[in-house]
Symmetry: C2
Subunit: 354 residues, 2 copies
């Protein structure tokens, strides 16, 4: 499908990538190439961080969950993501998190892409983790512990394999069924996988520890004694107020790297720390203003909560694949009367054609 | 089309109302009934004003325009509108304003409707004006001046005819072509229409003056001498910072009614006044806390800028018509794996089915 083949004038139309289109896109391109591509777009956008309009997400909280809008713009393109978080949904057969997003042209204000973003967010979150780890993890790392083997775990594994060469996984989840699911999904992809009976066992020998659990509460997935010198911690699961995964003592002896401090201080692991506790913004490492890993014994922590620029990058990447994949449909979403002042006449003419 | 007839599980699906669906909806229901229906929903929502989460729109400004997100929620449903404003678009064959919106269920966080909102916003803006005028205009009004005969003018005329019995229109636009367009579109609908050569001529004998021009600058569509005692002014066109239509002296002798003061003080006619100039919130009039029109000689001014709750009301109304009209398609927008933790497995299974 292309813009030109449609009988409707193209100005009306906004390409829409459905859930099925997104799955087919992942299968067409290959998940590894897609993770690498999104990582490259994220790194490119983080390298021009100061060009972006940045704002903490706009959240509407209720007693059972939250609905958020995450907008950002680099002055040329604009993106926002709609995302909810409803932990109780799972019990009702619904998703905890669903998301969709829009990319728009700043010059005209017209939307240029609307996409499902549940799968795309999973991809960009893993790509973001790998981008951070390239700057922060020990260079010789080959083993990653993944604590929490839910929906994000396979994406993390594949991103770290593709971008850092991690081929040994140590998996742990409170529910062994999740670990089996993760291991089965990753079978045949060149990993050496060890199923572990505890978090303690999982971290043994791992140079990278990824925590990606789903409890919406203060939890202690990692205690201080579990974290040895030289480790990189990739903390994904603590991503909203009241939800953390790491014991505070770990934070106190780590160099902490974050996406956007005003948001991370509210949502990340560092909500446990004083508001002025020093953190390093990842973009500063990417542009070379600050050092990433500087010694072999340093504990580095990427306190990831997910920021709007990552969604912007992922939507940009997806838009740039549309022509190649053809995996979209055009939505007739923009009213386009022949004469801009004659919106009512457009309706009258539609009536005359019936 | 119904939710149940689709082969895809309904949880995936979000009804989408395209531009064509919206035009057909207006034609099926009838523009007068639709305006009356949206007005009823707006009045109902304004009557429970205090239940809503309210925030000024979230705007991303550029040198050529603005992209805004307008969210609100009553605790049970959540809505937002995406809307741009690019005055230079017209010269490039594009719309100055395009919009779409989403209604979502607060309990699950799931979107339940996505819709074009260029046409729907035109309808809700006119419905809002008529709701305000029912409380503010002289009871015996039968004549309305419309200064500015662009895309909004016919909707205003039809809303005031349907909800207030206004059958005499006095039209003026700097471009006589716009006036001809408006008069032609309204032919055969029971109006007595006078085409006027100036704003001054248009307001003669009118009990209601609607100003709805499009210049993005401080303008003086109405000067003080043009506004007689007892008139209701429905000021629609001044709706962003730097854009006003009325001379300040008119404001100083009017009782001013607004939607949401924090937004109107930035965007409305009252940006010309001190920040503490007294205004009356329209919802207070609707619930009976404040008086609307209280004397025959009073000049009332509805300083309308458009607020998120009106879009919420319009989307609610539209959602409630879907079953009746069938004018929508279902979008596969929500990822819905059989097992919520198995997003990656869902992709693998899609691959196995190819």
């Amino acid at each position: 499908m292309s813009f030109d083949s449609s009988p409707v004038p193209a100005l009306n139309l906004v390409p829409f990538v459905s859930v099925d289109d997104m799955m087919q896109t992942v299968l067409d391109i290959g998940v590894e190439e897609m993770l690498a591509g999104i990582a490259a777009y994220i790194e490119e956008d983080f390298a021009r961080w100061e060009k972006f309009d940045k704002t903490p997400r706009l959240a509407a909280h209720s007693s059972v969950g939250v609905i958020e809008l995450m907008p950002t713009s680099d002055g040329e393109e604009y993106a926002f993501k709609y995302v909810n978080g409803h932990p109780k949904n799972t019990k009702e057969g619904l998703q905890t998190v669903t998301a969709f997003g829009v990319l728009a042209d700043v010059d005209s204000g017209y939307p240029v892409l609307i996409s499902e973003m549940t799968i795309l967010t999973a991809l960009r979150t893993a790509a973001m983790s790998a981008v951070a780890a390239r700057h922060l993890a020990p260079a010789a790392a080959d083993t990653m512990a993944i604590i929490g083997n839910g929906a994000q775990s396979e994406f993390q594994a594949l991103a770290f394999q593709g971008l850092l060469g991690i081929n040994k996984l140590r998996l742990y989840d409170v529910d062994p069924v999740a670990t089996e699911k993760c291991a089965a999904n990753l079978a045949g992809r060149g990993f050496e996988i060890v199923r572990c009976a505890s978090g303690q066992e999982a971290v043994e020998g791992a140079q990278i520890i990824t925590t990606v659990t789903a409890d919406k509460q203060y939890a202690t997935i990692l205690t201080d004694n579990m974290v040895g010198a030289g480790v990189h911690i990739n903390a994904i699961g603590g991503d909203c107020p009241g939800k953390t995964e790491l014991h505070k003592d770990i934070l106190l002896r780590s160099d902490i790297f974050v996406e956007y401090p005003p948001q991370t201080r509210i949502e990340g692991e560092i909500q446990q720390l004083d508001a002025d506790h020093p953190v390093i913004e990842l973009w500063q490492v990417i542009v070379g203003q600050r050092e990433g890993r500087s010694s072999a014994r340093q504990v580095t922590l990427f306190d990831s909560v997910g920021f709007a620029i990552e969604d912007f990058s992922a939507l940009r990447y997806l838009r740039d694949q549309l022509e190649r994949t053809g995996r979209y449909e055009n939505l007739d979403m923009i009213a386009d009367p022949d004469e801009p002042r004659d919106l009512f006449g457009m309706i009258l003419r539609a009536g005359a054609q019936r």
